[in-house]
């Protein structure tokens, strides 16, 4: 970069670079969201379960009649069936969300690759679009 290359930067180039910057930021946000969502799939059922899978398993194994299900800040006493159906709903919703996030991430990555192609073609070594 210290060669003082005189490649002109047009407004269109600048906009491509800006778009790349925004997409990169969005990419990292999505990765964080996906990680958080995966960790969030947990339910404090009898304060043991660590995710929805575990919770459903615990439910099946437990032979107590009343199970405590967290609503807001308290644990409500609910029947197994009620909780099973709530867990089902939660699992469906979270699968849907994760699917949506994964799709969005793929879109972002492909847009970024396209921009990389365009920008590297024009600027070659004068620009660096890789992760540190």
């Amino acid at each position: 970069q210290g060669e003082g290359v005189e490649t002109e930067v047009t407004w269109e180039d600048q906009q491509n670079i800006n778009a790349f910057g925004r997409l990169n930021a969005k990419f990292h946000d999505l990765e964080d969201e996906i990680k958080a969502k995966k960790a969030q799939c947990w339910l404090r059922n009898q304060e043991l379960a660590e995710n929805l899978e575990d919770a459903s398993n615990e439910l099946v194994l437990s032979d107590e009649e009343v199970v405590r299900y967290q609503i807001g800040e308290v644990f409500g006493h609910l029947s197994k069936e009620e909780i099973e159906s709530k867990l089902e709903c939660l699992k469906e919703e979270s699968d849907r969300e994760l699917g949506r996030l994964a799709e969005e991430k793929d879109e972002v990555v492909s847009k970024m690759n396209e921009l990389k192609r365009v920008l590297y073609a024009k600027f070659k070594d004068s620009i660096n679009l890789e992760e540190e």
Binding site: E6, N18, G21, G72
Partner: protein, 191 residues
């Protein structure tokens, strides 16, 4: 602001919610002549601008974090009120819950069929609302929080763009300077 952008294909806003946009430089030489500055003082003022943008970005990121923490809390309250409402309408016996008395210590309570809940409004104020009123209030709060969050996310995108433009301008001014010095050195060496 250097009026160097004569024909931009898609005009971007000149400012957003009090934050000025970074002017795009079409030609470094023209830019330096227009602002009657040399490369190093231009670099100093550009770096300065960059710092200001970064400070604004930090503030917005903090606001975003706060909102992102507040929104699940509002949702939790909504959950409870909706559960109470559904229990009431289904006519089942009142719900028993375990609630935290102190850290790690829980106690049981029976939530009797009432018609109202108390909502904590902040500043040591708690108000009693009917289930329906509470639902309305909480939903409105959630809506407001979500739209504030959206606005902040847009602000962050805008700042990100201005930071990128400024960084690119700094690189170009620097490169132009290096190139210029080399050129004038060559001219001096070859009489």
């Amino acid at each position: 602001m250097a009026a160097a952008v004569a024909s931009s294909p898609s005009p971007s806003p000149a400012e957003r919610r009090g934050i000025p946009a970074a002017p795009f430089v079409e030609d470094v030489q023209v830019f330096l002549e227009k602002t009657a500055s040399d490369a190093s003082s231009a670099l100093v003022s550009l770096q300065d601008r960059l710092q200001q943008y970064k400070v604004a970005e930090m503030k917005l990121l903090a606001q975003r974090r706060d909102l992102q923490a507040k929104i699940p809390d509002i949702k939790k309250c909504l959950d409870i009120v909706e559960a109470l409402l559904s229990k009431k309408s289904s006519g089942e016996e009142p719900m028993t819950v375990d609630f935290e008395l102190a850290e790690g210590i829980y106690s049981q309570a029976r939530v009797d069929d009432g018609d109202s809940v108390c909502l904590w409004l902040g500043a040591n104020v708690m108000l009693e609302y009917s289930y329906d009123e509470a639902l309305l209030l909480l939903k409105k709060n959630l809506e407001n929080a979500n739209s504030s969050l959206e606005a902040i996310i847009e602000d962050l995108k805008f700042i990100r763009d201005q930071v990128t433009v400024t960084e690119v301008t700094i690189a170009r001014v620097y490169n132009w300077d290096v190139h210029n010095r080399r050129k004038s050195k060559q001219q001096k060496d070859d009489p």
